[in-house]
Each structure stands twice: as structure tokens, then as C-alpha cells.
Symmetry: C2
Subunit: 326 residues, 2 copies
């Protein structure tokens, strides 16, 4: 996601809060264990869009807003996201994260495993200090479901027979639940009415699903310049996403595509061929159309909310997510 664009969506009143959060993130993960202390802080400092905390700060304004109440939760969702990235990079063998060497490439996979665990544990320590079991329960449930989504993605690798439904299930666990949680916790922490809490959770799930749909789409239609990596990474790694699933069902060349996808050592030529079959099948248009439906569902949840200025920000975020499709 392009940082400039997101930042333009954030109202001035939230900018300062996000700066405070950045400092607090570093404080929360600080440890006497030197080996990981600086690398984790540098990872935190090196960026990331803080999209989840920003959503939370926005959603919390539909209740009795109190930054001090929301802050630990905003830290928690960003740290859950960070821990997942540390563990993801082990799996993907990624040399870089946010433009600086990843924890696993700096310190080795072994340290990265426990560095991710350390962040997870800090999240729980932070949450247990809040004395709110409802928040704890919601968060812990979402966390294990995110793990299930990550494992599901590995289970589905190189499988060309997964259903559209399975794919949506997987991306909702992997990505959308944390968006939903971020929106929901903001509202819960500020005692928003139940109807508002539910609408914001629904909104978060829908834009989170749309976010991942577009992320997966960009891997097919994006170019190296925009993606920061060559297109077709998912195809090469065996991650079968919606545009591909569509082509596997409806393309006249579906058998050829299937053969390509099951090869674990794809050449650049093969990858290009697969991308062409997917594009020709209408899989791109179908994914854009489905994303549009999720954005529309997100709008429906926004409609339920009280009419405060922050409502427009939520709509702008949804529109922004959709606008990434080209």
C-alpha cells in the first residue's frame, strides 16, 4: 500500500496520536536482551502504514473518545501485525522488510522465531493490563484464527482444486479479521453502542477482505516497479488466489494453467504464460467486481453509523482500498 495516499486520508487530529503511538510501540517492545532490542525498534521505526491503528483511532470516535483508553489497543493490533510479519519473513525467506533487512536475515531464523513470539507475548501482557475480559477474549480468538489462516495458506499451496469459498475463508482469517478487530476494539474501548460496535466490525471485515483481494490481484496485474518485486510471486510460490481460481474454472486453457501451477520450479516464461491465461480468462475483472461488492457491503455498514465527520474517513479508506486495483 502506498504510504503517501493513506497518509492523505488521515485527519490532522489523528496525526499527532499516530506519532505518539510510534514512540510507544518502541517502548512496549523494548527488552534487556540486546540481540533483539535494536533490530525490533528499527523494524518499528522503518515504517509501515499503521493502517490498523489508524482505523482503530477513527472507529473509536464513534464512542466516547479517549485516546488513553484506545492507545494500548492500537499498540496491540499493530504489534500483532508486526509479529506476523516477523514470522512471515522466516517462511518466505525475505531478505528485506520495509526496505531494511528483515529480522530473520539480520539475526537468523532461530532468533526470528522467538523474536516473533516475544512480540506476541508482549501483546498479551499489554492487553492483560486493561482489565477488560471482553477485549481479551475477542483478541485471543482473532489471534488463533489468524494463525489458522496462515496455516491454511500453506495447506492450500500448489492446490488447484480449492473452492472460491475456501479462498475467501482463508483471506478473511489471514487478513480481514485483524482489520475487523481493529475497528471493533476501538469502538468497544470507548463504550460505543453495541449496534455501532457490530457495524464497525462488519466494516473492518469487508474492507480487510477487499484489501487482500486487491493485494492478490496486484500480484497478477502489477509491475515490478509498483510492487517492489516481480509480478507473479504468488504463482511461483504456489499461492493460488482468486484471479487464478477463476481462470482454473472458466478459462479454455485451464488444463495448461493447472499444469503450470503445479510445477514447483517455474521459469519466468512459465509465470508470464500463467499470468496471460489468467488475464485472458476474465479473472482480473471478476476479482475487481467481487472487491466492489465487498466495498459496497462496507458502505452498508457505514450507513448504520452516527453521522459524524469520521464517517467520511471510513468511506474514503474503503474507496482508497478499491482504487488500488489499477
Amino acid at each position: 500500500m502506498c504510504g503517501d495516499k493513506v497518509e492523505r486520508l488521515i485527519p490532522g487530529e489523528m496525526e499527532e496520536e499516530l506519532l505518539i503511538l510510534n514512540e510507544d510501540l518502541k517502548r512496549v517492545i523494548s527488552t534487556k536482551i540486546n540481540l533483539i532490542n535494536s533490530p525490533l525498534k528499527e523494524m518499528i521505526s522503518s515504517g509501515g502504514k499503521r493502517l490498523r491503528p489508524a482505523l482503530m483511532l477513527a472507529c473509536a470516535r464513534f464512542g466516547e473518545y479517549d485516546f488513553e483508553k484506545v492507545k494500548p489497543l492500537a499498540l496491540a493490533v499493530e504489534l500483532i501485525h508486526t509479529a506476523t510479519l516477523v514470522h512471515d519473513d522466516i517462511i518466505d525467506d525475505s531478505p528485506l522488510r520495509r526496505g531494511i533487512p528483515s529480522i530473520q536475515s539480520r539475526l537468523g531464523k532461530d532468533v526470528a522465531v522467538f523474536a516473533g513470539d516475544f512480540i506476541f507475548c508482549r501483546v498479551f501482557e499489554l492487553l492483560t493490563s486493561l482489565n477488560d475480559f471482553n477485549i481479551l477474549r475477542r483478541t485471543s480468538k482473532v489471534m488463533y484464527k489468524i494463525c489458522e489462516g496462515e496455516i491454511k495458506q500453506r495447506e492450500d499451496l500448489f492446490r488447484t482444486d480449492i473452492t472460491f469459498r475456501n479462498y475467501i475463508y482463508r483471506i478473511q482469517r489471514k487478513t480481514a479479521l485483524l482489520f475487523g478487530l481493529s475497528c471493533e476494539l476501538g469502538a468497544l474501548a470507548t463504550n460505543a453502542p453495541l449496534k455501532t460496535v457490530r457495524a464497525l466490525y462488519g466494516y473492518g471485515i469487508k474492507i480487510g477482505t477487499a484489501f487482500q483481494l486487491i493485494d492478490d490481484l496486484l500480484d497478477v496485474i502489477g509491475d515490478e516497479k509498483n510492487l517492489g518485486k516481480p509480478a507473479g510471486a504468488d504463482i511461483r510460490e504456489g499461492v493460488v488466489t482468486l484471479p487464478t481460481l477463476y481462470a482454473l474454472t472458466y478459462s479454455p486453457k485451464k488444463d495448461e494453467l493447472k499444469n503450470i501451477l503445479q510445477n514447483k520450479n517455474l521459469t519466468i516464461e512459465d509465470t508470464k504464460k500463467a499470468i496471460k491465461i489468467i488475464k485472458d480468462s476474465g479473472g482480473v475483472e471478476y476479482t475487481v467486481e467481487l472487491t466492489k461488492r465487498y466495498i459496497y457491503k462496507a458502505y452498508k455498514f457505514i450507513d448504520i453509523l452516527a453521522d459524524i465527520p469520521m464517517k467520511k474517513v471510513l468511506k474514503d479508506v474503503a474507496d482508497y482500498i478499491y482504487s488500488r486495483n489499477h
Copy 2:
């Protein structure tokens, strides 16, 4: 640790409870994600001494004993231990765990990372269902300190200049804290008096430290038959333990030892040479002596406790841990 011996220490009344726990462990980690569902259950079924839950069940008897209250906590400490093993095996590249293929060798490191995370998250879900913030706070604090201990061990790899004090700090985080927590939570859950809770925590820390001291010692003095792996694994992997630290300080051949230890590709001959230098230095006797002091400190905590039959079991466990030194 030899299973037969531990089991002989467990009074009949606890045997049935441990059987129930075994079934519940499988229930708690069950998931719809097939890829990890069976492997995790098989890992749970394949053994492990359940030393931490057993200690908890014993310690809980110093309060108003109620198995139903203690059970979720006993599940939690065993699962924390299990998650740590899953992540440890990734780091050590272990093909086997408890005689069956490890999760990482069955499913790959990538799945193992998230399988371990999944177990950690289940632990929190389990704990948040208890509505007891004191227990949650204690557990989350211990969990991140365990992570710190694991990372500290990696930080100290191949370092011959760590102090005795650093070593004890490391093994207390890595091992003793979870023993302490197991003892403490049992007592907390059954509303034992604060004095008892503190004494049991102290007891757990001391026997946990002794347990790791002996574990590290056995790597020097054990033989392949008893250890299930060749002796000197720590030396080859760069894990500098107390007997080695002693030799590095007091052996006339400390420079030779230092040179051997800093070589990352040790031959079997080099390893044997290092073991001989360590044994000749008196490092073994010193470690046994220090273990004895920890056992003695554990006794002192037992003395504080009310005079119930379970008191003898705690003493027997301490004696058993010490008895593993040959």
C-alpha cells in the same frame, strides 16, 4: 528425564487427573485446519512427562483443592511447554520429538512456526476464559520472559566470556520460570494463602533451575544410550553451560578449551577433548554442588508449607531431579 521414575512419584489420586488432562489437551488444540490437527494431537499423545501439570496438581492441594479450577491452568502450562518445543525443533532442525517426527520435520519449518503460534494463542484463549487477571498477568509476564531466555541463549552462542550469573539468568528464564509458574498458579487457583503461593513459586524456581543444571550436566557426562543423542551436543551447537564455564575459568587448559569452543564445525575428536578438559577441571563436581544448593533452597521453601501428604511428593520431586546427576 526418565518417564518411569517420574510416574512412580505421582500419587494414585493424581493419576486419573493426568489422564483427563491428556484428553483435554487434545481437545484444546483441535482445529478445523487438517494440516496441523492430527500432527499436533499425535505430538500430545506421544508422551512427555507432564511434569509441569503434575507439579501444579500437587501444589494446588495446598489450597482449597478443586480439579475443575486447576485443570485449565494445567493445560495452559503444558501447552506453553509444547509450543516452545515446536519452535525449539525448528531452531535445532530436530527430526524427532518424543520418538515421533517433529512438527517441523513433518510439515516444514513454515507450518511449524505458525503451529507453535497457534498453540500460544490457544493458551491465551484458554486463560482469558478464567476471568482472573492476576493469573493472566503472571502468565503473560512469564511467557515473554521465557522468550527472552530463548533469545538470550542464541545471543550467548559460542561466547566463552559469559559470567556464571548470566548463565543462571538464562536458564532461569528458559526453564525455571515455567516450573515456578506451574507451582504458583496451582496455589493461586485454589486460593492458597499468599505465603503458600510465594513458597510454592520459590520452590518451583529452585527445582526448575536444578532441573536445567542437571540437563546441562548430562550433556557432558551422559552417554548416547541414556541421552538418546550423542553427548556434547551443547558443545557442538555453541551452547556454553555451567560445567564448561567452570572449566573456562579454572582449568589449566582453559585456552585450549576456548579455542575448541569457538570452532563452529567441531569434529567428534574435538568434542571429546573438550569434554575431557571440562571433566578434569572439576566443572562436573561444581555443577553437582550448585544443584545441591538449589535443591536445598527448594527444601527451605517446602519447610514453609502446611504439613499435608503432598509435601512429601514435592520433596521427592526435588530429590528425583538431583538424582539425575549420574
